[in-house]
């Protein structure tokens, strides 16, 4: 690490405040679009922490994959599911929130005491630094070859499955001579909206889904 100790501590503090504030915003804000953008802030500050931890390759991968792909995907999801609805209020919902906050702070206290109390065996070996990308490549093609190939196959399967789950069912055979009425509207099989909460129409939901 070439940075001085003071610079490291100051940048760690800034990144930590940014990260925790943005994470609280993700969880607590009402507007989900603000939450999605704050999630990008969390990812970027985590990438900064990776740079502090001598992992520049993974920091670059974090920015590319999370900020560039996952966050954009989540934003697309929000825009496609853009439904302005008032959630039906639940009686005494604050009790559940309070209990959850209590459990989470208790879990944090437990983890903190474990982290502070454990005598970590810190290594004094010099950090790999910029050589880390070569080491990661060597790991991928020697002792982690099987997980690497499995991960690529899994990514392919997951993306194909996601496309199949999310696609719309088009009607393939429209009448040849009849022009489509509305040019901006894709021909689509009419869907049956299932009234929420009724158990009798489960079969209809399955049919229209298939």
């Amino acid at each position: 690490m070439t940075l001085a100790e003071g610079v490291q501590i100051v940048s760690f503090g800034i990144l930590a405040v940014m990260m925790l504030g943005a994470a609280l915003g993700v969880v607590l804000l009402e507007n989900i679009v603000y939450s999605a953008f704050l999630l990008g802030g969390v990812f970027i500050s985590i990438a900064g922490m990776y740079i502090l931890l001598n992992a520049s390759f993974v920091a670059a991968a974090q920015v590319l994959v999370y900020v560039g792909a996952v966050n954009v995907l989540i934003l697309f999801g929000i825009m496609l599911v853009n439904k302005q609805q008032e959630f039906r209020p639940i009686a005494r919902a604050w009790v559940g929130r309070a209990v959850t906050a209590l459990v989470c702070s208790g879990l944090f206290a437990l983890l903190a005491t474990t982290v502070v109390g454990t005598p970590w065996k810190l290594s004094s070996a010099p950090a790999a630094g910029d050589n880390a990308i070569v080491l990661i490549g060597i790991h991928f093609f020697t002792d982690f070859l099987l997980p690497f190939e499995l991960a690529s196959v899994l990514l392919l399967i997951a993306l194909v499955g996601a496309i199949i789950l999310a696609r719309r069912e088009y009607i393939p055979d429209t009448q040849a001579g009849v022009p489509v009425q509305d040019a901006l509207q894709l021909p689509e099989r009419p869907r049956e909206l299932v009234p929420v909460g009724s158990n009798t129409s489960e079969q209809g939901a399955t049919d229209s889904f298939l």
Partner: protein
């Protein structure tokens, strides 16, 4: 700089993720909370890789795998959310009783 700082920050992020996972009612916010938890795990892995095993960067290799799985999870999760939304016309977690009973 100490290892404990990074571990404490990661633990805080993980707990925020759990809180969001349990309390949010919007489905997409639940997915975002899961991403927060996965990132906390990644931060832990990276801190261990830097402080306990700096010469042999196994933690970074594992975090690359975690990033891969998280990307696949986000894609499949959003596809499922879209498909449920088209059938049920809501994004409220309280009204998804599909696999409940």
């Amino acid at each position: 700089m100490h290892l404990e700082y990074f571990l404490l920050i990661a633990a805080a992020l993980f707990c925020i993720g759990i809180y969001g996972l349990v309390t949010s009612r919007n489905v997409i916010r639940v997915l975002m909370s899961i991403e927060l938890m996965l990132n906390a795990v990644n931060l832990n892995l990276m801190a261990f890789s830097n402080y306990l095993d700096p010469a042999n960067v196994t933690g970074q290799v594992f975090s690359v795998f975690v990033i891969t799985i998280a990307a696949a999870e986000a894609a499949v999760g959003l596809a499922i959310v879209l498909s449920i939304y088209r059938n049920r016309d809501t994004v409220d977690m309280e009204q998804f009783n599909l696999l409940k009973w």
